[in-house]
């Protein structure tokens, strides 16, 4: 097979490499999907943000316990 192209491959080599290539593509796509899923690292803790929110802007609008 493929002698016209100057390649000297048997049918089994072609089939094995085609299947291995398909599997590689499939793995690559799955790895990409998993890689996308990684959550962004949190910059700060939620408690930190809550404690340091600009409560002084609520002056006269809402009473916040100090």
């Amino acid at each position: 097979m493929f002698e016209a192209l100057g390649l000297n491959m048997g049918l089994d080599t072609v089939i094995v490499s085609a299947i291995a290539g398909a599997c590689t593509l499939s793995f690559a796509a799955s790895v990409y999907l998993f890689y996308r899923a990684k959550p962004q690292p949190e910059a700060k803790e939620l408690d930190d943000i809550v404690q340091n929110a600009p409560y002084h802007r609520l002056h006269n609008i809402l009473k916040i316990k100090a």
Partner: protein, 173 residues
């Protein structure tokens, strides 16, 4: 006139404070704002506290700003959901199909005797594990899609309710 209730420092009041600070021109880091909105939207207690805070606020505009922030967050979540769905349909489905096709092809080659012995076994194992891997990846991506859809809906509903609450803001007068 009854004295105004005092509110604790919690995500819901932090969100109202941030909305007011934004409308007064202060800069708030986007990530902090998103984090707070996420915390408020995903918790029933915080949702209730937010509605109570908006109703008790003396300024009806603060409710409007909060509702707008929530709507913007809902749009963002919808965008994330669409992106997730795209990558699932473009990559996930085809990764699964490719692996399933490779599995069938390696079975066929083994049965026909074109590929024999260790190579046939290795190919079957490789394509089978590829199928399982891509299925797991798709499952994860679909569950993230569902989470985003839920966040979007929750934020939209909350924004509507906050608008309603803002109409009766400063309820005692």
């Amino acid at each position: 006139m009854t004295p105004l209730p005092e509110f604790e420092r919690r995500p819901a009041t932090a969100l109202v404070a941030m909305a007011n600070a934004l409308s007064m021109g202060d800069a708030i880091p986007d990530r902090d704002l998103t984090r707070i909105i996420q915390a408020v939207v995903s918790s029933r207690a915080e949702r209730a506290a937010l509605l109570a805070a908006v109703r008790a606020a003396n300024d009806p505009d603060s409710g409007l700003t909060v509702a707008d922030l929530l709507t913007a967050y809902a749009a963002e979540a919808g965008e994330g959901e669409a992106r997730e769905r795209d990558s699932d349909q473009v990559l996930g489905q085809w990764a699964q199909r490719l692996a399933a096709g490779a599995l069938l092809a390696s079975f066929g080659a083994a049965i026909a005797g074109t590929v024999t012995g260790g190579a046939a076994f290795g190919l079957t194992l490789l394509s089978f594990s590829g199928f399982i891997f891509s299925t797991a990846a798709r499952l994860g991506s679909r569950s993230r899609m569902r989470v985003k859809a839920q966040e979007r809906e929750a934020a939209e509903t909350l924004a509507r309710h906050v608008l309603e609450a803002a109409k009766s803001a400063g309820g005692e007068d």
